[in-house]
């Protein structure tokens, strides 16, 4: 590991000022991803600014009836919070489906949004990787890619975003707040992650030097009836090979409102806009759910070893929507 300086920030403005425009400096939250990547040499910062003591660890109701979640709230506290469980249950379920109890107690909401892919070529510094070393190539396209992207990828990178939390957040139209030396700013999560194109090393639309200060969830009555379901290769403590966050409002057998997002299918949490369009106003039945999933997956470009994800996601969408509709009918 490269040697590094360490500073602790006590307020947001101070943290942003300490970082300045230094591309060799990183903010340190829980460290569960950053410290790991520093050990393997993927990240080699010259300086860390510890932001864990910033006053960003609250979850508050907004006047509009949504929730504002501070950037240093731990995943553990987020999933345990009564209002998260009551108003956005799929978000609590998504967080609980990720990592282990120990890691959830360390990991922060801001860091979770910025966590890096677990693609084996990205985490192995002896291998080429366009995300880590732009222009070096993507061995995953012809190599090990059974958990790679089926949507929105490019020949330059097929890595998937690892977060469960972000899948639920994007389903509920979360907005990311940040602070820069020039003042505060906001980005809807749907615009936060950049398309892969030929620049997979550019992952977010955050301005240089920005510090994420929190995430705001707008009031979403449909979200009280929501669910996150994750498929992985063992029963617990593993990254997804496919996941679905969904919220469903059915009245008189017709879908009145729906939120649908997919995980482990793309370089970013994937809001299933095409599927939502098919669902809204349609009969709430298995035929509609399947048609919706197929509409979303029509754009899928699977590789030789990850075509199973198309079937997996289709079935997962149908299953989760069916369960939500059955629950509502009870």
């Amino acid at each position: 590991m490269r040697e590094f300086g360490y500073q602790r920030a006590s307020d947001v403005a101070g943290a942003v000022a300490l970082l300045g425009a230094d591309p060799d400096t990183r903010f340190l939250g829980g460290g569960t991803n950053l410290v790991d990547l520093m050990k393997t040499g993927v990240e080699r910062p010259a300086r860390l600014i510890d932001i864990r003591e910033l006053p960003l660890d609250e979850i508050e109701s907004t006047p509009e009836g949504g929730l504002r979640i501070g950037a240093t709230v731990t995943n553990g506290d987020l999933a345990a919070h009564p209002e998260v469980r009551r108003r956005y249950p799929a978000l609590a379920q998504a967080v609980l489906a990720g990592a282990s109890g120990q890691l959830r107690n360390m990991a922060t909401v801001g860091g979770n949004l910025l966590q890096r892919t677990r693609c084996g070529y990205f985490t192995d510094v002896t291998k080429p990787c366009n995300k880590r070393v732009p222009g070096s190539g993507c061995p995953a396209v012809e190599g090990e890619h059974h958990n790679s992207a089926i949507l929105g990828a490019s020949g330059h990178c097929v890595a998937v975003h690892p977060s469960d939390m972000a899948v639920a957040l994007i389903a509920f139209d979360a907005v990311v707040s940040y602070e820069t030396a020039d003042g505060p700013g906001e980005l809807p999560l749907r615009e936060f992650y950049l398309p892969v194109a030929d620049t997979p090393h550019r992952e977010t639309a955050l301005p240089p030097g920005a510090l994420i200060t929190g995430v705001t969830l707008p009031p979403t009555p449909t979200a009280t009836h929501s669910r996150y379901r994750k498929v992985r290769e063992r029963a617990s403590y593993a990254f997804a090979i496919g996941s679905v966050a969904a919220a469903l409002d059915v009245r008189d057998g017709v879908v009145r409102d729906v939120r649908l997002a997919l995980g482990a299918v793309a370089s970013r949490p994937w809001r299933a806009v095409a599927a939502e369009r098919v669902l809204t106003g349609a009969p709430a039945d298995a035929e509609t759910y399947a048609a919706a999933a197929e509409a979303e997956l029509a754009a899928a470009l699977p590789l030789p070893h990850n075509g199973y994800k198309v079937t997996l996601i289709r079935n997962l969408v149908v299953a989760v929507l069916t369960e939500l509709a059955e629950e509502a009918a009870r």
């Binding site: 410290v35 010259a46 469980r85 249950p89 109890g101 120990q102």
Partner: protein
């Protein structure tokens, strides 16, 4: 300006203060084992994947291998050496002994610290990924074997002593109702306030 790459820090471990110079690259795990001779905390994968290095930080279970020592300054650190009350074993330690919750014992300190955290989190009403109804109104789910397995999934045991580990955690959770209530107060501000009033 070149920033120093080391600092003199003071760590609060098991109620005692230790002052030591550390290279910033030092993890809490290496500081405990290599610098302070607190070798109860074990190094397994050193990547946050096995849980052998689990300690309690401000009462919450965390993995010491991904925690920089310099960033732990000012926090209350409890290692397996600090969980007993003098000669009186912690209920979780006693349950692991009574029910053979181990074979070779290497993962055991991490299992014990993690189980203490699990029991506290459960007592504070935290749901898990296998909890059917996570609404707060539903209250804490029964601490079934499935719940324990899910909540302890961050601790690997290469000997495969899981069956006994699950039994030990269940036994300790039953035996330690008093201690777990006090412990829950440490991680839940609401519970702490109620206890203070009582």
């Amino acid at each position: 300006m070149a920033l120093s790459t080391s600092s003199v820090i003071t760590l609060k471990i098991n109620g005692e203060k230790y002052t030591l110079p550390v290279d910033h690259r030092t993890t809490l795990l290496d500081a405990l084992r290599e610098r302070l001779d607190l070798t109860g905390t074990k190094k397994g994968c050193d990547q946050g994947q096995c849980g052998a290095c689990t300690v309690l930080l401000d009462g919450r279970r965390t993995v010491a291998c991904l925690q920089l020592a310099v960033a732990a300054e000012g926090r209350e650190i409890t290692t397996v050496e600090g969980v007993a009350d003098g000669e009186q074993l912690h209920p979780v330690q006693q349950a692991f002994l009574d029910l053979d919750g181990y074979q070779c014992g290497y993962c055991t300190p991490g299992q014990i610290c993690s189980a203490i955290g699990v029991i506290q989190e459960h007592a504070a009403g935290w749901p898990s990924a296998v909890t059917d109804d996570i609404r707060p109104e539903a209250g804490p789910p029964p601490l079934t074997a499935d719940e324990i397995r899910e909540r302890m999934s961050g601790n690997l045991c290469r000997c495969g002593a899981y069956v006994s580990i699950v039994e030990a955690v269940a036994r300790a959770a039953e035996a330690g109702t008093d201690t777990s209530t006090a412990a829950a107060a440490r991680i839940s501000p609401e519970a702490a306030a109620e206890e203070a009033v009582a």
